[in-house]
């Protein structure tokens, strides 16, 4: 029996999951809209409800450094950030993955400066997309909670050993109270398990050196190990999702699909807009449009094969990007086309850049995307909702 449902915002739900897991170390630096996570977690620390060593660092560069080192040392370590925080720690992102430290970082997705803006988009997490981190998206508060519990299982898997981002949309989820069904704490603890470190630094009887310099002879090899670990992570994610369904009754997939099977037009979307897209699809279906939508919950490793399968036979695919590689495309769009390359017929592929810096996306906005596709009005790259 699960405890009764809670009214909780996204940040607090993440903190609550952390409390249930009780990590060894947490180091973080405040930034809107992530702050509530560390604030709630600080309360747990101050009240002695967790065993965690909580380190209030002086910057995000140090936040991720402390976490990477702590995890290397042999401690299960969590952190959280957003926007400039992720930008400020950028140097450490590929180092953390290369050092194979499976720490968990919640990202309260927020636009990156400039201009400075505290609202939601995916500029922050997209800056991490090359860096060798697993990346999970959540549609709502329940999922932010669930992903927080699932993440360490994927990341810490003996053959994965990669850090993992848990994304939740800033304000839209972080600051929104929704209804969630939490798991019992002991269920969470059993599911996540004790942390077993590989070659922990603190094992001083077997001294290991971490973080050596590579010449051209070894660097590529070490990076290739990451390629293999990512391939493994793709498998492990599916397994862990299955296990999680058993304890929670909630089913997750690397690619979440909504009414896609018979759809002619689909939208691909990340994060909370997936929910709004579902509502738009419902309306379109009522109007007779064969619409569907999907979310690559596991954004890294990129589920190329499943996405190709998903797009098979569609007339149009709208790839919605809450970020823009300026002077080119949204980040998801070209990769979706690359995935579609495996198909005999590539559907019409359209890029919709939307929601930058917190521009709200409504059901009508998303409906209009489908209407564009149906009517043949879509450009290759479309700027949705920018007031010119």
């Amino acid at each position: 029996m699960s405890p009764k449902d809670m009214a909780i915002n996204g940040d607090s739900a993440v903190a609550f999951a952390w409390k249930q897991i009780d990590p060894d170390v947490c180091a973080a630096y405040p930034i809107t809209p992530q702050t509530i996570i560390v604030e709630r977690f600080s309360d747990y620390v101050a009240d002695g409800e967790v065993h965690t060593e909580f380190v209030c660092v002086e910057s995000e560069h140090s936040a991720l450094t402390v976490c990477t080192a702590s995890q290397s040392a042999g401690a299960r370590t969590f952190t959280a950030t957003a926007s400039q925080g992720l930008a400020y720690m950028w140097e450490m992102l590929p180092i953390t993955s290369a050092m194979r430290t499976p720490l968990i970082m919640a990202v309260a997705n927020r636009a990156v400066s400039g201009p400075i803006n505290i609202n939601n988009d995916h500029g922050d997490v997209m800056a991490a997309r090359d860096c060798g981190w697993i990346s999970l998206f959540s549609e709502n508060v329940q999922e932010a909670y669930d992903m927080s519990i699932i993440a360490p299982r994927i990341a810490e898997h003996w053959d994965v050993q990669l850090p993992c981002l848990v994304n939740l949309d800033g304000f839209i989820l972080t600051h929104a109270i929704e209804r969630i069904s939490p798991l019992e704490t002991h269920t969470v603890k059993e599911f996540v398990g004790e942390y077993k470190a590989r070659y922990p630094l603190l094992d001083h009887r077997n001294p290991v050196s971490h973080g050596l310099m590579d010449g051209p002879d070894f660097y590529y090899q070490h990076k290739y190990q990451l390629v293999e670990a990512m391939a493994k992570a793709a498998q492990v994610a599916e397994e862990v999702f299955k296990e999680f369904a058993e304890i929670s009754g909630r089913e997750y997939h690397s690619v979440e699909r909504y009414l896609c099977d018979d759809a002619e037009y689909i939208a691909i979307v990340l994060g909370s807009s997936f929910g709004t897209a579902k509502a738009a699809v419902d309306k379109l279906r009522a109007e007779g449009v064969k619409a569907g939508c999907a979310m690559p919950r596991v954004y890294r490793p990129f589920p190329e094969k499943m996405l190709a399968e998903l797009m098979k036979g569609k007339k149009g695919v709208a790839v919605m990007d809450k970020h823009l590689s300026i002077g080119a495309y949204g980040p998801l769009y070209p990769e979706m086309i690359a995935a579609a390359l495996d198909l005999e017929v590539i559907p019409g592929m359209y890029n919709y850049i939307y929601g930058l810096g917190g521009v709200d996306v409504t059901v009508d906005h998303i409906k209009s995307i489908f209407e564009d596709m149906v009517e043949g009005r879509s450009e290759k790259v479309n700027f949705l909702g920018v007031k010119l």
Partner: protein
């Protein structure tokens, strides 16, 4: 060199002190030569040798580890008894 299949994850190595296998002796242009008669086993050379190349046996100065000595000349210059001379290698 290390094969791919033998490389630990994370660029780590669990072979502590493996650099001993990297011989810096061939960097040397001059080599320290010890006059054991002058030597008083004060170990001053040992504490200052940057390459841990002064061999100590039973608290006594027992020669130079030529595999790694880079020939910097510090031992010679700090020896209170001028027991070490640097000669072309």
């Amino acid at each position: 060199m290390v094969e791919y299949k033998d490389m630990l994850i994370g660029g780590r190595t669990d072979k502590p002190g493996s650099a001993e296998g990297f011989k810096t002796g061939d960097w040397r242009s001059f080599v320290p030569v010890v006059d054991m008669d002058k030597c008083i086993d004060c170990l001053t050379c040992w504490v200052y040798c940057p390459d841990d190349s002064i061999i100590i046996k039973d608290d006594k100065m027992a020669g130079i580890k030529l595999s790694h000595c880079k020939g910097c000349g510090i031992c010679a210059s700090v020896c209170p008894k001028k027991a070490i001379a640097m000669v072309e290698d």
